[in-house]
């Protein structure tokens, strides 16, 4: 049987088949060649949107919820290579008052002109609140998160929207509060026509909310967005700030450049009734559906042991973690969790805890701000000339500072919101406006790094591993090199002023796209 030729040939055949199939199965794939085309379109003209002047709610007295704009912020803008920057005002969007409109800064495409950066500052001394507000002019986005604002009594939050493009934008707003997400705002859509702006009081959407996290999503044109908060306690101003967008949800957020000044006065004042929100806090929201443990560590740029906080946080609930024991200085905050979260931080300053809470008729905003030393050289309230080029100067300049309000701060209270910044590229550009005591802070969550700063201030910063380095800077456009993967921010702090904004990655350069078929 074994010698039967049939069995022999059949065995040969089957064995050959098995061996052949297995051997062929191990062959490397034949003919794989990449036919993708990597295309790089021309980079677009760079554009940044400056949120414009601080708006006032119910300032004219006609209607308590009416939104008006009155101020004229001062701006600084420029590119890394010193190219021309054009500044164009948008429409005012039907806002009353004498304030200017948001501005679009534009410059030639990034590869030729260098990355564009801009910032605005405004010393507000009008209406029922006074304070110092600073914001960076940001690239238009389709999706932005804000961990800032409150709408309890005396706290007014306004969503500032500006559409710099030629297409209309439909902006959807989603709001989370300490009670969870607001269901009825899911369908809220705000139409922002092309080249126009809108200011929406968040009190109408989320009344009496102690803590807000706002997400705006634009379908259609990309927009510039910011959240403004102003606080009035009784007749005393509690400060003003414009908060820029914080980073999109991620498992780790870094807030850098959190300036603390007058910590002792704040601690003294916050014991009073309704002054509890002077307390520095880190605001956290888990926008997903799972609760998670959140760990916060706050480090000083001066070094030392970090201050930690943290506990389990429910999903969809805005949680403010009070951070106690902060000394004056620049701090960085790192928030970690096992699920994506958004984070922001608030600080306040009190210039003179002992002063009367009664408004002082004689003190004007200019006098109160003149107390802040380094800000004295800047013509606050007017549009500054653009730095880094000979671009046109805002025609709205030259107006005198607004007359002091009877409700302007007497104890010199101001607040500021800091957001988490985006991880920077290898180089970054940031504009520093004329404000009190501007400081650049750079935080590394990883290894120690050396950062070169050039511009009005040229220096080399040694950023320690997992720590923060700070550098006093001056008005102008700074170019930071060697900041890949780091976070940076600019903060201002004075006697009755505190503000800041993070340095955003300059990503207006078109990137290569692998196009397959």
């Amino acid at each position: 049987m074994a010698l039967n030729p049939r069995v022999l040939s059949a065995t040969t055949l089957v064995l050959a088949g098995v061996v052949g199939a297995v051997v062929v199965g191990q062959l490397p794939a034949l003919g794989v060649t990449d036919t993708a085309i990597t295309a790089i379109p021309a980079s677009p003209r760079q554009a940044l949107v400056c949120p414009g002047p601080v708006v006032a709610v119910g300032a004219e007295g006609t209607a308590p919820d009416e939104v008006t704009a009155a101020g004229r912020p001062s701006r600084v803008a420029g590119t890394a290579k010193g190219a021309d920057v054009t500044s164009t005002p948008l429409k005012r969007g039907g806002l009353d008052g004498g304030g200017t409109a948001p501005r679009v800064l534009s410059a030639a495409a990034a590869p030729a002109a260098g990355a564009l950066a801009g910032a605005q500052v405004e010393q507000v001394a009008t209406g029922d609140a006074a304070g110092f507000a600073a914001a960076s002019c940001a690239a238009p986005v389709a999706d932005a998160w804000f961990a800032a604002g409150a709408t309890t009594t005396g706290r007014t939050s306004v969503l500032l929207l500006a559409n710099p493009s030629a297409a209309a934008a439909r902006v959807a707003v989603r709001i989370w509060t300490e009670d969870g997400p607001l269901a009825d705002t899911g369908g809220t859509e705000i139409a922002v026509p092309a080249g126009d702006r809108r200011a929406v009081s968040l009190a109408g959407l989320a009344p009496s909310a102690g803590g807000l996290v706002v997400r705006v999503t634009s379908s259609g044109a990309r927009i510039g967005a910011a959240v403004e908060q102003r606080t009035v306690r009784g007749l005393e101003s509690g400060g003003v700030d414009i908060a820029g967008a914080t980073a999109a949800p991620a498992r780790r957020q870094t807030i850098t450049g959190m300036r603390v000044a007058g910590a002792a006065a704040v601690a003294e004042t916050q014991r009073e009734d309704d002054y509890g929100d002077l307390q520095p806090v880190v605001r956290v929201l888990l926008p997903g559906s799972k609760p998670a443990d959140v760990a916060i560590s706050v480090r000083s740029s001066a070094g030392g042991a970090p201050i930690t906080a943290g506990r389990r946080v429910a999903a969809g609930v805005v949680t403010d973690f009070p951070i106690r024991g902060l000394a004056d200085g620049t701090w960085s905050v790192e928030v970690r969790s096992s699920v994506p979260l958004v984070a922001g931080a608030r600080v306040s300053v009190v210039a003179d805890a002992g002063a009367s809470s009664t408004p002082d008729d004689g003190s004007s905003s200019s006098s109160s701000s003149s107390g802040s030393g380094s800000a004295a050289d800047a013509p606050v309230g007017s549009d500054a000339g653009l730095v880094g080029g000979d671009g046109p100067v805002d025609t709205g300049s030259g107006a005198s500072p607004a007359t002091g309000s009877p409700t302007s701060t007497s104890r010199g209270i101001d607040l500021a919101w800091f957001g988490a910044g985006g991880r920077l590229g290898e180089t970054a550009v940031v504009a520093v406006a004329s404000g009190p005591d501007p400081v650049l802070s750079v935080t590394s969550t990883g290894v120690a790094r050396t950062v070169r700063v050039s511009g009005p201030v040229s220096a080399t910063l040694q950023v320690p591993a997992g720590g923060t380095a700070s550098l006093p800077v001056a008005r102008g456009v700074l170019v930071l090199s060697g900041v890949g993967g780091l976070d940076a921010a600019v903060s201002y702090a004075g006697t009755a002023a505190v503000a800041g904004y993070s340095v955003e990655p300059a990503d207006q350069e078109a990137r290569a796209v692998r196009v397959t078929r």
């Binding site: 062929v24 199965g25 021309a42 634009s218 692998r514 196009v515």
Partner: protein, 1019 residues
């Protein structure tokens, strides 16, 4: 005045024939007065033989001369004095006369003075009892026919006397008439020379007579003849010469007014007759018809004028005088009937009774099940989904074949996929709505597969239940089921074609029909699944080598195998050339049609992926459809991997049966079939390693299902053979009754095993089989448009309107596809695009890159250039990178003021570009259609010609054609030499004196004493 006879013997090659004939001449009872031997050429051997008999004249003409020319030279050389009593006796080397032949011819002409031409009876050389030819005539249409059939001479034709013509060999002709009539027509060097001469003699008022008692021999087609027409002349050349002669006669004989009409009809008739030769399965004769028509068409003028002038000079009577001598239609029909009956090939195999044997019933049953399973498809306008797209219009189908412009991406000009030809032919079946043909294919696939499987199985077993098992196993084959589920139209067609290809392959050596069928099926299979090309090529080479090494005991051993790749070659050569020019020959192997996203990979018990793939393919599964199986195995409490293993095991019984069939010691399945099974599996594994296309950034393997179909065929037939052997069992020495009962039990159990295998397979395939019914299949009934309705509506007025589809890839890049009009249709796709990026332009890629991110490019101009009116952003791949890219693209597209978002569905977000200018864009593909350029025309003509002619050859028209033009069978009643006693030969040998015979052997020529004087008269 005594009659004087000059024998003119024309000798070319063939020394033996010549010797015999010369010997026969010397023993004539009435010896010719002069012997003129005309030698064609100057072979010394022949010259020696001729000179040995010392002829009166030994003339030489050049070797290429025809018979008529040689005779003329002989007459000239003889230098005869003109006179009525001078006769010429024309003989060829093979026309050995019987001793009294000349005497009896002379008696006939002397008895009838009006007779100027007398012809003897031509007998077969090898069997002189049998007739070779005896008089010629023409049919009413002018075809030359023999009056006598080659049959045993029983004096049945002896009553014939006055005939239209006699053969040249042995013809006795009056010298004066020969001279007056001008001899044979030089324009008829091979055929019909004597016929034409006799007709002219008749027209001149003379008579032509047969002399049945005078007999010469003739070797017919095996005669050495002349250089022009001899034993070495091929069949095709004979056909050509015969046709040329007929055409010349027609032009020479016709009334003058209709000659131009005849001339004009030559070319069309040539084509029609060539096609007819294909239908008669005589492909060799088809070119002969065309060449003959061409030759006569171009060169006929002077010869015809000469011939007509000659007739005009000598004509005394009208053509009507010849009418009674023509063969009447009735006789023509009778003779054809005789040929037909004689030529009927003997059926060696018993015919397979498809209708009565259960095949038809199986197919009908499967058709009913198929109608139920595919009920949602009945009446659908088109099927789409998976790898299937609708077909375009019939115009678009035929514009996509050959070599022309392809409106893909930026457009390119190049060869079409061979598959486009398949689609064009398939769509032409329902030319009013080509997509309906695909719907029909889906509905009929299972019954056709069942019928094909039944027929193929019928070759391997006589048992009806096993044939049914074979049909069902073929219809339920996993490859077919998966191909139907995933819309693999190529896989479906290969699976349907495979059993018929097997049947044709078994007969390819015997039948031109089978050869042509196999050629066409091979082209179909290769076009549907080019990854099989290496396998097909290897098989063909092996068949040729085997045919050569086994010798040629059968004439057509490889003649019918050699041309097999021709249809495939003409379809693929343009594509191969184009891919070679771009250095991507492997691209030829790419599957035609849309690039499908790669499916799940096999995971069997955690084995390595490549081993799992081999096991998956070995079980017959070209794709791993775990999802469907989980539902199937849920009731068994199996989940995940266990379900896969269970389903895989369902295919194992069949493999075991196949091994039984393969290993059974006697009468097992042919090893060739086993080779097909194993080879198919190896090629299927190989197909998974061919990754010449990619879906976005993911490389995609070739479809292994086509090769698996071939493997499955081998496994199926081996399994059926195994069952057959099991049911036959071993010969058990039992009592008759017990033995018979045991045999019945064995047969029943074998059938039961077979049906169990069918049931197991059906269970494994059932989740896919019901997929269309439940809507879980990839294919679904759909409309002919594959773009969103909004785009389709606008595209109806603007067929060039483009829609750019973008989908984010896992690496953050984008896949872009540009479709025009109402959407991509199947025939418009090209593997040149999917493999080599034809039609891909940097501009289009840059446009895509500029759309998905803010850019400074002039998108308006780019959109206008490519006539893109819509942009569809698809959901894209899974993964964070792809999602982020999609989100950015969505916001960028939304922010683009050129675009307006019009709808968001599960297919993605559609944006409209409102500013599209009318008129063709600068890059909208324009170029030559398949018939719009010389190259395109050439490619298309060659392809259609080869396919059309092969199809004609493949038509089973042999019986039909032989009704009208019977082909004489190879075994026609020509004398079978072996069965005939050699009496006539010996009689003739007896006629030779022993001395003569001896002398011939010694090479000398001592003539017999009694003949010496006569012979001396020659000198």
């Amino acid at each position: 005045m005594p009659t004087s006879v000059t024998a003119i013997l024309v000798a070319g090659e063939g020394a033996d024939w010549l010797r015999t004939t010369l010997d026969a001449l010397t023993v004539q009872t009435r010896v010719p007065d002069r012997l003129v031997v005309v030698q064609l050429g100057s072979s010394p051997a022949i010259a020696g033989i001729i000179d040995a008999v010392e002829p009166t004249v030994h003339a030489r003409v050049h070797a290429r001369a025809g018979f008529g020319q040689a005779v003329e030279a002989g007459v000239r050389a003889a230098g005869l004095t003109p006179g009525e009593d001078q006769w010429l006796w024309l003989l060829a080397a093979d026309n050995a006369p019987e001793p009294p032949a000349l005497e009896r011819l002379l008696q006939a002409v002397e008895a009838a003075p009006s007779v100027v031409v007398a012809g003897p009876k031509q007998m077969q050389w090898d069997a002189p009892q049998y007739l070779q030819a005896f008089g010629r005539t023409v049919t009413p249409w002018g075809t030359a026919v023999e009056l006598a059939e080659p049959e045993l001479d029983q004096a049945q034709y002896d009553r014939l006397s006055d005939v239209m013509a006699v053969a040249a060999g042995g013809m006795l002709v009056q010298e004066q008439a020969w001279r007056t009539l001008g001899g044979f027509d030089r324009a008829l060097p091979a055929y019909d020379d004597a016929l034409d001469f006799c007709v002219r003699a008749r027209l001149a008022g003379h008579r032509v007579q047969l002399v049945p008692r005078a007999r010469v021999r003739s070797a017919g087609d095996e005669a050495p003849g002349t250089r022009l027409l001899g034993a070495s002349t091929s069949v095709a050349r004979r056909a050509r010469l015969r046709r040329e002669a007929q055409l010349h006669r027609r032009l020479a004989w016709a009334p003058l007014p209709v000659v131009p009409l005849h001339w004009l009809s030559i070319a069309p008739l040539g084509v029609v007759r060539a096609l007819g030769q294909l239908l008669r399965k005589q492909p060799g004769a088809a070119p002969a018809e065309l060449v003959a028509a061409l030759v006569v068409l171009l060169t006929c003028f002077a010869p015809v004028a000469r011939a007509r002038a000659r007739i005009g000079r000598t004509r005394r009577t009208g053509w009507s005088a010849l009418a009674p001598l023509r063969q009447p239609w009735k006789e023509v029909r009778r003779r054809r009937a005789l040929t037909r009956d004689n030529g009927q090939p003997v059926e060696r195999r018993e015919p397979v009774d498809f209708f009565g044997g259960g095949g038809f019933a199986t197919a009908v049953g499967v058709a009913a099940v198929s109608a139920l399973l595919f009920a949602p498809l009945i009446g659908a306008a088109a099927i789409s989904g998976g790898s299937l797209l609708p077909l375009g219009t019939i115009r678009s189908l035929w514009e996509s074949v050959g070599w022309g412009v392809h409106p893909l991406g930026g457009g390119f000009v190049g060869p079409a996929d061979p598959f486009a030809m398949v689609l064009a032919l398939l769509g032409s079946l329902t030319f009013w709505h080509p997509s309906a043909a695909v719907v029909g294919l889906w509905l009929l696939a299972l019954p056709i597969a069942a019928a094909g499987g039944w027929l193929a199985t019928a070759r391997f077993t006589r048992r009806p239940p096993l044939r049914v098992v074979g049909g069902l196993l073929w219809a339920a084959a996993p490859t077919l089921v998966v191909a139907l589920d995933q819309g693999r139209i190529g896989g479906v067609l290969v699976h349907l074609a495979a059993p018929f290809a097997l049947l044709a392959a078994f007969q390819v050596r015997r039948s031109w029909t089978a050869s042509a069928c196999l050629g066409l099926l091979g082209a179909l299979i290769a076009a549907c699944s080019p990854s099989l090309l290496p396998l097909l090529a290897a098989t063909w080479v092996a068949a040729v080598v085997l045919g050569l090494t086994r010798g040629t005991e059968e004439g057509g051993r490889i003649t019918r195998i050699l041309p097999l790749p021709l249809p495939t070659a003409v379809l693929f050569l343009p594509l191969i050339a184009e891919q070679l020019l771009h250095g991507r020959l492997a691209g030829v192997l790419a599957d035609p049609g849309p690039v499908a996203a790669p499916g799940a990979t096999a995971d069997l018990l955690g084995l390595p992926a490549q081993v799992s793939t081999v096991l998956q393919l070995a079980a017959g599964w070209p794709a791993w459809t775990v999802d469907g199986w989980e539902a199937l195995t849920q009731p068994l409490g199996l989940t995940g991997a266990a379900a896969a293993v269970f389903v895989w095991l369902l295919g194992v019984p069949l493999l075991l049966l196949a091994l039984v069939g393969l290993f059974w010691p006697r009468r097992s399945v042919p090893i060739r079939v086993g080779v097909a099974g194993v080879g198919g599996l190896v090629v299927a594994v190989l197909a998974t390693r061919i990754q010449v296309v990619s879906d976005g950034s993911v490389p995609v393997s070739a479809w292994p299902g086509a090769a698996l179909s071939l493997a499955w065929l081998g496994v199926l037939e081996a399994a059926v053979c195994g069952l057959d052997r099991l049911s036959a069992g071993a010969a058990v020495p039992l009592a008759d009754r017990i033995g018979r009962a045991g045999a019945r039990i064995r047969a029943l159990s074998a059938s039961a095993i077979g049906f169990t295998a069918v049931v197991a397979l059906l269970a494994a395939a059932s989740p896919l089989l019901v997929g269309v019914l439940l809507g879980t299949a990839a294919v679904r009934p759909g409309s002919a448009a594959t773009v969103p309705a909004l785009v389709a509506a606008e595209a109806q007025g603007r067929p060039a309107l483009g829609m750019l589809t973008l989908a984010a890839q896992p690496d953050g890049g984008f896949r872009k596809r540009l479709v025009r009009g109402e959407g991509q249709t199947l025939e418009r796709l090209s593997t040149l695009q999917t493999t080599a990026g034809f039609g891909e332009t940097v501009g289009l890629a840059r446009l895509a890159a500029g759309l998905v991110q803010p850019s400074g490019d002039d998108l308006r101009a780019a959109l206008d250039t490519y006539r893109i009116g819509y942009v569809l952003l698809q959901p894209g791949a899974d993964g964070a990178t792809a999602r982020a890219a999609t989100d950015e693209a969505r916001s960028t597209l939304g922010a683009n003021s050129l675009l307006t978002a019009v709808s968001t569905t599960s297919a993605g977000t559609l944006y409209r570009f409102g500013g599209l200018e009318s008129g063709p864009g600068s890059v909208v593909p324009t170029g030559p259609s398949p018939t719009g350029s010389p190259l395109g025309l050439l490619v298309l003509t060659v392809q259609l010609l080869v396919l059309g002619l092969t199809a004609l050859l493949a038509l089973p028209t042999r019986r039909l054609a032989t009704r009208f033009r019977p082909v004489a069978a190879l075994s026609a009643p020509k004398a079978d030499v072996r069965s005939i006693e050699k009496a006539p030969l010996s009689a003739q040998a007896a006629a030779l004196a022993p001395e003569q015979a001896m002398a011939r052997g010694l090479g000398r020529t001592p003539a017999p004493q009694d003949a010496r004087e006569e012979v001396g008269a020659w000198r």
